[in-house]
């Protein structure tokens, strides 16, 4: 599964995107927890107020995801 990161989350983790394997019944929240276990900077980046999207649509942590999905984590938006 492809996971993308934007803004502060991209900067703090030093990662624009990565590929990861996910179990059959994975949820976005499960993906977030797995990523946070990668180290302190991941914990810092993903523990605060984080929005997530699945296949470029906003969703919440309970959404189930599969290998073909594109998931993204980002902070609250500040455009305009």
């Amino acid at each position: 599964m492809k996971v993308k990161f934007f803004a502060q989350i991209r900067e703090v983790t030093g990662t624009e995107s990565l590929d990861m394997a996910v179990p059959a019944d994975a949820t976005i929240e499960g993906v977030r927890q797995t990523l946070m276990a990668r180290g302190p900077q991941w914990q810092e980046a993903l523990s605060a107020n984080v929005l997530c999207a699945c296949n470029q649509t906003l969703c919440d942590g309970s959404k189930t995801v599969s290998e073909q999905d594109e998931v993204a984590f980002f902070p609250p938006v500040t455009g305009g």
Partner: protein, 157 residues
């Protein structure tokens, strides 16, 4: 309708012309446009400019969705939205929205709705530069409240 993300500057006149092309005044007697520009200060003092990051693909479709929602809700006869990304100096144009409607109130409301909802739901992130120091802008409570006002109105409709 048009929704665009671009690095290059835009011409308000060209966008106005595009919005009104094939759109007769008999159906579109009211046209409202809004342009947002880079302010040269924040709460801490002066800044030198901003940088905007976006999510290619999702940002464009979120803008398109916003146009469709505003068009349906305010009976707009046409609408457009353009948002710049990348590094922008102070005073530069950032965002443009334009709406056409039979009467002015719908055109004003449509433009206001799109700007309020854009600040809440479109994946774009702003960073401010002051010298070599850059700071991500935090989401503002007042922006949430502005968006919530429309969502509450919707419930009351």
């Amino acid at each position: 309708m048009f929704a665009r993300v671009c690095e290059a500057d835009f011409s308000q006149q060209a966008l106005y012309d595009e919005l009104c092309e094939h759109n007769q005044a008999s159906q579109s007697g009211a046209v409202v446009t809004f342009t947002g520009r880079v302010r040269d200060y924040n709460a801490e003092g002066g800044i030198d400019g901003i940088e905007l990051e976006y999510y290619p693909g999702m940002t464009e479709s979120a803008l398109q969705q916003l146009l469709e929602q505003a068009t349906a809700r305010f009976e707009l006869t046409n609408a457009g939205i353009v948002h710049r990304v990348g590094k922008l100096p102070n005073q530069a144009q950032i965002v443009w929205v334009g709406t056409c409607a039979a009467h002015r109130q719908d055109a004003f409301n449509g433009a206001s709705y799109m700007m309020d909802m854009l600040k809440q739901s479109v994946p774009i992130w702003k960073k401010e530069w002051a010298g070599d120091i850059s700071t991500w802008v935090a989401a503002k409570g007042t922006d949430s409240e502005a968006a919530m006002r429309w969502l509450t109105d919707e419930k009351d409709d």
